[in-house]
């Protein structure tokens, strides 16, 4: 059971209030029709399943309903950083 800091509510809340929403920084392709089946499948289905620090999306379902970014270690489940979408993107995420 994680304890998650909502970057909007500025409060530490139990995981019960949140829902996970997948790996972060998976941008929807600008022109899906121009992609091959493989490229499209890569966007729809394939994820890195990364071992270590992992950026992912969470939503404060039973709170502010905002989606935000969480950097979490998939080994220890430690949450290293939370962020709104404005602050961090795939370019400046580390």
């Amino acid at each position: 059971m994680f304890l998650i800091d909502c970057p909007y509510c500025k409060e530490s809340r139990d995981q019960n209030e949140f829902s996970p929403a997948g790996e972060a920084f998976i941008a929807r392709p600008q022109n899906p029709e121009a992609l091959s089946d493989e490229e499209w499948a890569d966007y729809v289905f394939y994820r890195t399943n990364h071992k270590g620090d992992h950026w992912e999306q969470w939503v404060h379902t039973a709170g502010c309903r905002k989606y935000f970014l969480v950097k979490r270690s998939t080994i220890s489940h430690e949450i290293i950083q939370v962020s709104t979408f404005g602050e961090i993107d795939s370019e400046n995420a580390s």
Binding site: F2, L3, W40, V44, V59, K66, Y67, H77
Partner: protein, 1012 residues
């Protein structure tokens, strides 16, 4: 028996209690556990073992007990598989053995064949030979655990949410010290101290009579704790009779606390809980969980009255009871001598057999010898004698081999044996730190040669270990260790600048001088050397597992069932690892431990559920019209927490009759239904139109204000996830409806697109499901009724067309009237502010009397829509259906500039094959047979080629109709297929059906304008 004139500090001899065990009445005292009270009454056998049905007595005195499983109480208060050692006595308690040791037992009768039933016996004999299904019931009934409860639990259970800066698990010397150290050196930190026993003090209580300073220390420090506890705005909570059984991520720890009275108590009309589950979120955790003693291994070491040495001592010190008159203590460390001295002080005849060779004796060994206790050093117990309980032992001298050959341990036992008589054998093979909790959430262990134990890893974030779990066994050393760890915790919290640390000697890490695991191969190779008492696992089972190729301890565990059950290997597992190490001829550290997982001890389902049972199991959502449905005698169906009227039976009608009547009324004259539960999402902003056209498959740019449109929503995989009608209020404002059950997930998904991908769109969403009540007026006479109810709207079919909406005043209430239909009939949906729902419903019902207006429920709604072939997302589709699969290509816009959600996936090859499941109609050849939903369509080879998704009797057509997913169904029109169903009393039957269009009724849509 109870020891005369014993001064136990924990038993209240002025309060006798009576209780029943295995249908016999006994007496005990306040402060007794069920186990100690039964020892006092000379009860020897507590249960039979799981597999072989061997009579078993007590081995431990607390949570470590593997044998004495009992079920408590009966009926609605029945609780299975409790440890007799953990059940505190209360007046009127009744318990029975999980497997009665006093009655006839088939397993025990076949004792001569037990040797042919090693680990893997049941699998090899029954499952591998494919006869398991024939014998499963009878074999399961033989197993040695309690029966499952059959009645609803009468008691209540609570959940308590707790937050604390520091949680201390274990209320022995180390825990008490750590708590006081924190409270004394911090002004603000809150502390929760948890202990599984009823009284604080842990194993220290065992020292009271031999070491007066321990008694004084305990009295003094518990008093200090209570002072903190009783302060105003106290920072200290003490939970006793409370077991911390699980540690989850981010320092979330669950603790199960038992009401000391053992039952729910009723006071002032409020029922207090039988058990409370504390959900604790802690900043820092200090583990002072102590250690469990491990037994010595020898032949038939499972006979009754072979116990752990410290347990014998605890029964003696804490409860003033003992189960033998002639005691032998056997072990490989000094702790047996403290028990011996205790027994000797109580004038109980005892003798010590030490497996260690003479030389280098500690003070306590000399003290025991001085006080006249007979001590044999360098001897091993080879075998316990006796049929069901111990009557004596066979011992031999141990010789050390300087260089043991491969596959042989370093000990050799002398051939000469002597026999000693005894009626109680207490053993100690060293101590296993209770690392379970620490390992639940990622903590690792390492094998420490010096202390001969698996210790918790040294450093972990926000956690310290102290006392016996850190292998600091002697209580005075534990005090120093606990102070150090409390100081370090305070330092990491910033409460003190620099932790003050007192040094500990290396010797204190093995204070009792535990010798290495005593596993002579001559003993391990004997039958009936039990490692895991609860699961009847012997040393030979481990040897067999290894012979069959299982090398990893995790595999050996699963092959033999060692460490399973409520015991979770508390006493046996580490010995099992030592035995495996011996057979594998590798060091202990290489074998390692199995994985410790929650829960540490059994947790009642009732406690997990808490108060969320019965009416509180799930939230119940009612529309504002609900009371009217109840008054009309409706039967309800739960749809995504909503209570929807299912059908309205009249004059003793069954469902079939009621639904036929309701459907006929709608098709012939007029029906009404409460459609308030449909999900409604308010979509506003100048890009609302663009947004809808991105998330729906069809076109929205030209939908004029005043009109409505049906939309189908897919995910990026191209699969249907929802559908519904959206209404254009104006260019910047739409109201989207979703399926009743899908409202929350659709809303969340839409928010995700807006927030994570399309933050440039000016669109705002709001869930307005609860803000509106919707009354649907349905049937050919709907227009006539609406004209009476609402004067400011022109209902002429040419000016108010199908799929349009008008604002109007219905019976004086502002309303939005949508002309949409889910039945194919002329229909209007009156949307009003939610609080007017009941009023409008009643007005419609009254005004509709001339046309015999009939309320109908979800079942009739389903029949009516199925007749028209309208799908229900989630019933006719299952998350793997594309719009093409349900024959709705017409709803896929071809020329939208934005590639809407799911569109790209429609062209991938896998979604364009001919053998996909496709939605078709099925008409049974015998038109009165209604097939069950879910029935499979089978090929002539007997393989499933699809299944029935919806199936009803259609009153309008006078026959059954069904919708089905059929492989390549759209190209199989008019073909005959077989559906396999189970008919009552007739068994399996194949029903021939004709594949048809999914539209059965009013194929050309002529009914939608209703009667003139």
């Amino acid at each position: 028996m109870r020891i005369a004139n014993h001064k136990s500090s924990l038993i209240d001899y002025s309060k006798p209690l009576s209780f029943i065990f295995n249908n016999k009445s006994y007496k005990g005292y306040q402060g007794d556990s069920l186990a100690s009270a039964l020892i006092a009454n000379n009860v020897l056998y507590f249960a039979r073992s799981f597999k072989y049905g061997r009579k078993r007595g007590l081995m431990g005195a607390g949570v470590e007990e593997p044998n004495a499983l009992v079920s408590l109480e009966i009926g609605g208060r029945y609780t299975p598989n409790m440890k007799a050692t953990e059940v505190m006595l209360y007046d009127g308690l009744s318990a029975v053995s999980s497997s009665n040791p006093n009655s006839f037992d088939f397993r025990a009768m076949i004792k001569p064949v037990h040797r042919f039933m090693p680990a893997g016996f049941y699998y090899k004999t029954f499952i591998k030979q494919k006869v398991w299904s024939l014998v499963e019931d009878s074999l399961r009934s033989l197993s040695g655990f309690s029966k499952a409860p059959s009645e609803v639990d009468e008691d209540v259970y609570d959940h308590v949410f707790q937050h604390t800066e520091i949680l201390i698990v274990g209320g022995g010397v180390a825990g008490i010290t750590a708590a006081l150290e924190v409270l004394n050196h911090s002004k603000s930190a809150r502390v929760i101290l948890v202990d599984e026993r009823e009284n604080l003090g842990g194993e220290l209580i065992n020292e009271f009579s031999t070491d007066e300073s321990s008694f004084a220390w305990h009295k003094d420090n518990v008093k200090k704790l209570l002072k903190f506890k009783n302060e105003e705005n106290s920072r200290l909570k003490i939970l006793t009779s409370a077991t911390a059984y699980a540690w989850y991520d981010h320092n979330y720890i669950e603790v199960l606390q038992t009401n000391a009275t053992g039952q729910s108590t009723l006071s002032e009309g409020v029922q207090s809980a039988r058990k409370a589950l504390h959900k604790i979120r802690a900043g820092e955790v200090i583990l002072a969980t102590g250690a469990h003693e491990r037994p010595m291994l020898f032949e038939t070491n499972d006979l009754a009255n072979i116990m752990l040495s410290q347990s014998v001592r605890r029964y003696l010190e804490e409860f003033g009871v003992i189960s033998g008159k002639k005691v032998i203590l056997y072990g490989n460390n000094d702790s047996i001598y403290s028990t011996a001295i205790d027994l000797n002080n109580n004038s109980i005849n005892c003798k010590v057999i030490d497996a260690r060779a003479p030389g280098g004796e500690s003070e306590i060994v000399l003290k025991a010898k001085d006080s006249g206790i007979d001590v044999l050093q360098g001897y091993a117990v080879k075998k316990a004698k006796g049929t069901s309980s111990i009557t004596g032992i066979e011992i031999s001298k141990v010789e050390l081999q300087s260089k043991p050959p491969h596959w042989q341990s370093k000990w050799r036992l002398n051939k000469d044996t002597q026999t000693l008589e005894c009626d109680l054998l207490a053993t100690s093979g060293g101590f296993n730190p209770v690392v379970h909790l620490d390992c639940h959430c990622g903590g690792k262990t390492y094998f420490d040669e010096y202390s001969q134990s698996f210790l918790p890893q040294k450093e972990r974030k926000n956690r310290k270990v102290c006392g016996a779990v850190n292998s600091v066994g002697f209580w005075k050393d534990a005090i120093v260790d606990a102070k150090n760890k409390a100081q370090q915790t305070l330092e990491s919290m910033g409460e003190v600048k620099k932790a003050s640390i007192q040094p500990l000697s290396k010797e204190c890490l093995n204070y009792y001088k535990v010798d290495r695991f005593f596993t002579p191969i001559e003993i391990l190779n004997k039958p009936k050397v039990f490692i895991d008492m609860q699961n009847d696992v012997t040393t030979l089972d481990v040897a067999l597992a290894i012979r069959e190729g299982y090398q990893s301890i995790e595999h050996i565990k699963r092959y033999t069932a060692m460490g399973f059950g409520t015991d979770q290997g508390k006493t046996g597992n580490i010995n099992g690892i030592a035995v495996a190490a011996e057979f594998l001829d590798v060091p202990m550290s290489e074998v390692g431990t199995t994985t410790f997982r929650p829960a540490y001890t059994g947790v009642d389902f009732g406690a997990m559920a808490g108060r969320e049972v019965g009416d509180f199991f799930d939230p119940q959502r009612y529309t504002t019209i609900h009371d009217s449905h109840v008054e009309s005698g409706a039967e309800f169906e739960v749809v995504g927490q909503w209570y929807r009227p299912w059908f309205y039976p009249k004059h003793g009608e069954d469902m079939h009759q009621a639904v036929n009547r309701e459907c006929r009324a709608v098709r012939k004259s007029l029906g009404m239904m409460d459609a308030s539960t449909l999900g409604k999402i308010d979509v506003q902003g100048k890009d609302a139109r663009e947004f809808l056209s991105r998330v729906y498959t069809n076109a929205w740019m030209k939908l004029a204000p005043g009109s409505c449109r049906y939309g189908l929503m897919c995910n990026e995989k191209g699969m249907i996830i929802d559908d519904g009608v959206s209404t254009c209020i104006n260019d910047n404002h739409f109201i989207m409806t979703t399926t009743t059950g899908g409202a929350a997930s659709v809303y969340s998904t839409l928010e995700m697109w807006l927030q994570t991908e399309w933050s440039d769109l000016d669109v705002h969403l709001n869930s307005v499901t609860d803000q509106f009540s919707t009354v649907a007026v349905v049937g050919p006479n709907a227009r006539k009724l609406m004209e009476i109810l609402c004067q400011d709207v022109d209902f002429n079919k040419d000016s108010f067309k199908f799929m349009q909406w008008r604002p109007g005043t219905v019976c004086g209430v502002n309303a939005r009237i949508m002309r949409i239909s889910f039945s194919g009939e002329l229909a209007y949906e009156i949307n009003v502010e939610a609080n007017y729902g009941r009023f409008i419903w009643d007005q419609v019902a009254i005004a509709g009397r001339p046309w015999n207006i009939t309320p109908y429920g979800t079942e009739s709604m389903h029949v009516l829509r199925a007749e028209k072939g309208f799908i229900i997302v989630g019933q006719d589709t299952d998350g793997s259906m594309t719009p093409m699969d349900v024959n709705m290509n017409w709803i896929l816009a071809k020329d939208k500039p934005f590639s809407y959600i799911g569109r790209r996936s429609f062209s991938i090859s896998a979604l364009n094959t001919n053998d996909r499941l496709q939605l078709v109609g099925l008409l049974t050849k015998d038109d009165q047979v209604v097939m069950p939903e879910g029935a499979h369509i089978i090929s002539n080879k007997g393989v499933s080629i699809g299944y029935v998704t919806s199936s009803y009797y259609s009153p309008a057509l006078g026959r059954s109709i069904a919708l089905a997913q059929l492989k390549g169904g759209l190209s199989k029109m008019t073909e005959t297929v077989l559906v396999k169903i189970v008919q009552e009393k007739q068994g399996l039957k194949e029903i021939p059906c004709e594949v048809s269009s999914s539209v059965f009724y009013d194929i050309n849509g002529e009914k939608v304008d209703g009667n003139e």
